[in-house]
Structure formats: C-alpha cells, structure tokens
C-alpha cells in the first residue's frame, strides 16, 4: 500500500520535472550555438531553440513543476536574447571573450578560495555554530600564509602557518560562542574587524611601504603529463594549482565525512538537535570546538591560496568580500559540499567572465561582479528552492 503510493507519486512528478530541466538545457544551448566555437551567425536557429525551451517550460508549469518550468521559460528568453545579441556583435570580440578553455581555467582559479571558505562554513554551521567570520579567517590565512612562507622560505610551511592562524582565530570564535554563549553573529562579525586590524598591523609593522617581497615561494601548479599538450584540456586544466585540486578533493572528502561516517553523523546531529545528541553520549562542546576550528583552518587555506598561490603578494584586506561570497555559496548550496562547489563555480565563472567582458563594455563588466550577491538574495528569498539551515544553528547549547 505505502510502496504503491511511494512509486506512484514520483511517476507523476518526474515527467514535468525532467521537461523543466530539458527546457533549461535548451535555453543554454540556444545561446551556446551562437558563441565560439560553433558561432552560428544567423539568429534563427537560436530563436527556434529558445522558443522550444519556453514551450517545454510552459508544459512543465502545466504539469505542476512551477519553479523549474519558470526557470526554463527564463532560460529560453535569456538564451534567445543573448544569442541574438551575440550574432550582432563582432566575431573578433566574441572570440576574445568566450575562449572556453581559458574561461574554465579562470573559473577554477577564482572559485578555489570560495570552495575552501564554503567548506569551512559548512563544517561550522552543520555543527550548529553560525560563522559570519569566514572573511576574517580567510584574511588570517592570506597574511600569515605569505608571512610564514617568507620567513620559513617554504610554501608548505607557510600554508601550515596560515592554517594555524585561521584556526587560532576560529578558536576565539569557538570559545566565545560555545563557552561564553555569545551571540554568534556578533562575535563572528567581530572576527572580521579583528583579522583586518591584526593582519594590517603586522603587515605594515613588518613590511612597511615596500609590501611583501617578490621572491616568495609559491604553491606550485600541477601539470598533468598526458593532458598538458592536448589543446583544449591542456589550456583548461593542464596547469592547475595544487590547492585547487586540494579544494576539489576537500569537497569529496567532506561529503564522505559528513554523510558517510559516524563522526560526520554525530557532527550533524549536534547541529540539528544537540539535546538528543547529548543523550546518546556525544559531547556537544567538543564536537563544536572541532568543527569551528576546522572551519577556520579550511577558510585560511582559501586565504593562503590567494596570497601564496594566486597573486604572490599580500595587500591589506585582500580577501575583499570573498569570505562573504563563500558564505553565500554555503547557503546557495544548501549546506552541502557538492552544492556549494556548484555555487562557487558559478560565482567563479561570473568573475572570470567579468574580467573578460570589458571588450564589450568596461563599466558594464563591473556591474557583473554584483551577480553572486544578487543570486544569493534570490536564493535566500526562496525562489530557487527553500534553503534551510541546520536546525540548531546559532543557538548556544547549555547542558541540563
């Protein structure tokens, strides 16, 4: 009886759901064929595909799948319009902007710090501690990473120093939010100010106006022997930084840890229902301490990537809001590592595109940078599915 209901329900809803996705995909295709390498110069195929996407979307809405259906309609409209705009702009400009291999490489570069930050945010919030201090922990990693690399003359030791610095800042957050039961948003926010002040202070005190030296040991890129010389893949992932690979491994590792190991289950239970966790013998404070410090270490890796891998120098406040985009990625990905990776890649892609768009419109490209934040606003508004935080997130736990 119950199985019959269970099988009948998906059978009804799967079809409109699938057609919704098909519609979204068609919208993407409509634009894609007007871009390099396909470069269809006539707008008619794109318009037809766009119309098809809208039709399929409308059918999905009719079938009850409203959200995806409207998504498909929007994708059809956007894709069609984008394709028409693309066919009207010069081939040279298009080829300048849309070089897929370079775009993919840049996306990975911009997404790496966001992925680390998001992983940190997920660990922390899954254990029931809100962390709006990711930006500050990242900044600690960025400065102390390069500081350590400079002093100890090794990128690896520098990375460790940066991670430790992020962990120490996280320890403060842990102590205040777990032991002192502080308001976690307020104490998290204070970490951002503190990190800005501490890193800026030591940076100026030690390096003065000169800035960090040029000969900092940097985290090496990994060039994959077989792929390096293949034209497309070589440019896209042939020379990717060690930390980028580490971030991707981190996504898999954290997914397994959270959802496939007993410790991960315990961590999540502490975030969802600490009282219940306590009654089965899990130490809520110890679990939360572990999670908060982990989050500092992970976020700091993202910061260290910026200073000792990506840029090779440090300047004050260099994270420039990336910690907050990471926070956005956490919410966008619904507190799941893989979802957050997707969000980070999307945000990274929009930054990568914004770097290349000035060919078309220098000021318009700037506006593009606001996209991650607007998307997150839409996400928290619940338009793209409800994003629900862990139940006990933000609530201090007191033993009875």
């Amino acid at each position: 009886m119950s199985t019959a209901v269970a099988t009948a329900a998906p059978a009804r809803s799967i079809a409109p759901r699938h057609s919704g996705w098909v519609g979204v995909a068609l919208g993407v295709v409509a634009w894609f064929i007007a871009l390099p390498p396909a470069l269809v110069r006539s707008p008619i195929p794109s318009i037809l595909i766009g119309l098809l996407a809208i039709t399929v979307g409308a059918w999905a809405i009719y079938g009850g799948e409203k959200r995806l259906g409207w998504g498909a309609v929007a994708a059809g409209l956007l894709g069609g319009a984008g394709a028409v705009a693309s066919t009207r702009s010069g081939v040279g400009n298009l080829k300048d902007v849309v070089t897929w291999s370079a775009l993919i490489a840049a996306t990975l570069r911009y997404a790496t710090p966001l992925v680390f930050g998001a992983l940190g945010g997920i660990v922390c919030e899954r254990s029931g501690v809100v962390n709006v201090g990711i930006e500050g922990m990242m900044l600690m990693g960025a400065f102390f990473g390069i500081f350590g690399a400079d002093l100890l003359d090794s990128w690896f030791l520098g990375l460790l120093v940066g991670m430790a610095a992020g962990g120490v800042l996280a320890l403060v957050h842990a102590f205040f939010s777990i032991n002192l039961r502080a308001d976690q948003v307020v104490s998290g926010m204070s970490l951002n100010f503190l990190a800005l002040g501490i890193t800026g202070y030591i940076f100026l005190d030690h390096y003065g106006d000169q800035g960090t030296p040029d000969d900092i040991p940097r985290v090496p890129d990994i060039s994959i022997p077989g792929v390096k010389n293949v034209s497309f893949f070589g440019d896209a992932i042939g020379r990717t930084n060690t930390l980028t690979w580490l971030a991707l491994i981190g996504v898999v590792a954290l997914t397994i840890f959270l959802f496939r190991t007993p410790r991960g289950l315990r961590l999540r239970s502490v975030g969802e229902h600490p009282r219940a966790a306590e009654t089965v013998g899990i130490s809520v404070p110890r679990t939360r301490y572990f999670a908060v410090i982990m989050s500092g270490v992970l976020a700091a890796m993202g910061g260290a990537y910026l200073s000792i891998a990506f840029v090779g120098s440090f300047n004050q406040g260099m994270t420039a809001g990336r910690g907050f985009i990471a926070l956005a990625a956490v919410i966008f990905g619904k507190w799941r590592p893989v979802g957050s990776l997707g969000a980070a890649l999307l945000f990274g892609f929009s930054t990568a595109l914004a770097q290349r768009l000035p060919t078309f419109s220098p000021s318009g490209a700037v506006l593009f940078q606001a996209l991650p934040y607007v998307l997150t606003l839409i996400a928290v508004a619940g338009i793209i599915g409800r994003s629900r935080p862990p139940a006990a997130s933000g609530q201090p736990y007191v033993k009875e």
């Binding site: 502080a182 004050q316 419109s361 000021s363 318009g364 606003l377 508004a381 935080p389």
Partner: protein
C-alpha cells in the same frame, strides 16, 4: 511607563513597573539601568588595554601613543590649561572628530534600532552608500535650484533611498523569513558594485569634465548644495551643520522608540515576537518598518557626509570602504552604546575621536605611524564587538528563559525563530 493598552495584553505583565526583577524584560531593564553605564565603559577600557598591549609588543610606548592619539582628536580643546596656540590646532582637530562622529551617530542608530527589534542590520554600509549615490546625483544636478530646497531634496531623497535599500531586507525577512544578516551583507556588496559601475570610466554618473575623463569620479556637487559650515573655515573642512541633524535624529530615535505606539510595538517584537503577535502586533510590518527606518538613518548619514565634506564620490573610496568603512563602525558604536540613543551618541564620539586621532592627518608620525594606528583602531573596534557579544550573555539567558516558557505554554514553535544561518 506609558503603555498603549491595545498592544499590551501579552506584555503587560512583563513591562509593568510593579513586576520589577521578575520578568525577563524587567530584569533587562534593571540591567541596563544598573550596570548599563559601567559595562560599556569596562568594555572600552578592556579593548584599549589590549590595544595598548599590541602597541607594547611591537616595541612602541603605549602611553605616549595613546597621548598622541588623544591630542590628534582635538579633545584637549576643552581643557582650560591648553595654551592658545595648541587650542587653535585642537579646534581644527576637534572639528574633524565631530565630522566623523556625525555619520557614526547615524550608522550607530541604524544598527541600534534594528537590535531593539531583535534584528541585526549589517547592511549599514550599503544603505550609507546608496544614500551618498543619490545625494551626489541630486547635488550635482539641478544646478539652478536655491540652496535650501536643493539640500533638503538631496537629503530627503538619499534618506528614502537608504530606507528602500534596507527595506528589501525587511520585506524578505517579513515575507519569506530570509535571515536579515545574510540579505544585508549581500545588499552591501550589491551597493558597492553598483557604485563602482555608476562612477567608473564611461559609467552613467562619471564626471562630465572633459579634462577628467580618465578619472573614475563623480561630478562635484553644486556649491549651493553644500551644507553650511558653522565652526571653522569652510575651505579647510570646517564642521558642517550635519552634526545637529544627527543629534536631532538621535532625539527622534529616542522619542520614536520610547514615546510612541510604533516604538512600543518595535520593542515588544524585539523582546518576544511570539508574545507580540499574540498581543495583536503585526510582526512582519514591524520588521519592514524597522529595516526601512534603519536604512533611513544610514542613508541620511551618507548624504550628510557627501553634502558636508566629501562633495563627490570616487570608485576608490567605494572599494576601500567595502571592508572597513565608517558604517561598519556603526555596529561597534551601537553595541557599545547598548542600543540606546544617548549611548550611541557617546560611543559615536569615542569612535569618531579614535578614528580621527589615528588618521594620517592628525597623528604625529614621529610617535606612532598613522598607518599602524588605523589598524589599531580596527583591532580595538573588533575587540569591543567581541567583548559585547559575550556580555549579550544576559540576553542569551533571557532568550532561553523565554524559550522554556514558550515550550511549556504554547507547543507550536514557529520555524522562523530558528531561521539563523
């Protein structure tokens, strides 16, 4: 206390004076009145002590450093023993301090008002920026307008723009329960990038001066739109009348919160949204109103800074302020001022003095480098917020007490309460 009977049902017992030290609200009131002044002073002293430790560790003398910072603030102007030549310098410095205090009062109020309704407004930055965008646009356009209506128009539109910007977060909170911390953070960055777009090269509001086409800066506002200076030389950034507007806003804040039905509703929602709802108060309307009000304060701050001494916006200023701009200090100001009007003004003066005393222009570089001191200010600010976050311990206990009360009284706990992220 003059309470309105209509909204009072659920809260009457809590707010009534005879129930002193029994109900959470009364305990909070007693706490604020009793230890209310001591705790913030201790907080500030502790933060300055740790700051002094940082100075000491890095090989400077904390006493001479703090003395130099103090002299940079111009607060020695009030001492009768200051010599007349020192007094002239001190007057200039004090004008700077008060110019900085002006927006701090308002951005502090923007945070404090939200806290009183149980909301955390981190979006002061964005609301301030939006206000200043509108102010620079109005100030630089309508050149032929007479001075007073021109200033009034710029200020009013900027205030409304700030209100609308923050109102987005309020509406999202009230309708779909989106956490205001997240939405205001996002709105900050949207405002930053929108500004970077507006005043960028070839941006829609970049200056129209042919010789300045390679500079990403807005037009200067018309001279008639500049706020009058009442102390000091207008050519040397004297003190503009914005200070009085900010003080008036603080007075308005106090009256609105403590002497009006709306303010009563706001406080009731802040103390306990469930009880307020039960008492017939529209919680969602309160959220929208409060966020809009906060945005109005911050937008007003942006317009006063712009019309008072900045006169134009450069994209550099926008990106620099994104991380550690003045509005962020509003959080520390409000928390240190315990979210009251008087406390906010006092805390704004403290941080205004600290910021001015450590600025490039005012701090004697032979004693302590101003660049370092700027970061010292950030550390002290961070420490203040950190320490206050923990003495919110009392509020935490209150919340727990209320949660227990709710569990016993009404079984249905709405999910919106746990909407933290």
């Amino acid at each position: 206390m003059s309470l309105e009977p209509a909204a009072g049902q659920a809260l009457a017992g809590e707010e009534g004076p005879e129930a002193a030290a029994v109900t959470p609200a009364a305990r909070l009131a007693a706490y604020v009145q009793g230890g209310g002044v001591i705790v913030p002073i201790l907080t500030a002293v502790l933060a300055f002590l740790v700051g002094g430790l940082v100075i000491l560790i890095t090989g400077h003398n904390p006493f001479s450093t703090y003395k130099a910072i103090f002299n940079g603030t111009g607060l020695n102007w009030i001492f009768p023993w200051t010599s007349s030549s020192d007094r002239a310098t001190a007057a200039l410095n004090l004008q700077q301090t008060l110019i900085t205090t002006t927006p701090l009062i308002l951005t502090g109020l923007a945070v404090a008002f939200a806290f009183r309704c149980g909301l955390f407004n981190i979006g002061g930055e964005g609301q301030y920026l939006v206000g200043s965008y509108i102010a620079v646009w109005v100030g630089a356009s309508f050149g032929g307008m007479p001075a007073f209506p021109h200033i009034l128009l710029a200020i009013v539109l900027a205030t409304l723009a700030g209100a609308a910007w923050a109102g987005i977060a309020g509406v999202l909170k009230a309708t779909v329960g989106a956490h205001e911390v997240i939405s205001t953070i996002m709105l900050n960055w949207v405002a930053v990038w929108v500004g970077s777009y507006l005043f960028a090269l070839h941006g829609p509001l970049q200056n129209s001066d042919p010789s300045q086409q390679s500079v990403p800066v807005s037009n200067d506002i018309a001279s008639g739109a500049k706020l009058p200076v009442f102390w000091g030389d207008p050519e040397l950034q004297g003190l503009h009348i914005g200070l009085f507007i900010a003080l008036a806003a603080a007075l308005f804040f106090w009256v609105l919160l403590n002497r009006s039905t709306t303010g009563y509703e706001v406080r009731a929602v802040g103390l306990n949204p469930e009880a307020a709802r039960y008492g017939g108060i529209s919680v969602s309307r309160s959220y929208i109103f409060v966020m809009a009000m906060c945005g109005a304060f911050a937008g007003l701050a942006g317009s006063l800074d712009l019309l008072g001494w900045q006169f134009h916006i450069a994209t550099n200023d926008i990106s620099n302020s994104a991380n550690a701009g003045l509005p962020f200090f509003g959080i520390a100001v409000a928390l240190l001022g315990r979210n009251t009007a008087g406390g906010t003004v006092a805390a704004a003066l403290l941080f205004g003095a600290l910021l001015t005393g450590t600025s490039q222009r005012n701090l004697d570089p032979t004693i302590f480098e101003p660049e370092l001191a700027t970061n010292l200010t950030l550390i002290i600010q961070g420490l203040v917020v950190l320490i206050v976050s923990a003495d919110v311990i009392v509020l935490t206990m209150l919340r727990r007490g209320r949660a227990m009360f709710r569990r016993r009284g009404a079984p249905a706990t709405p999910a919106a309460e746990a909407e933290a992220s």
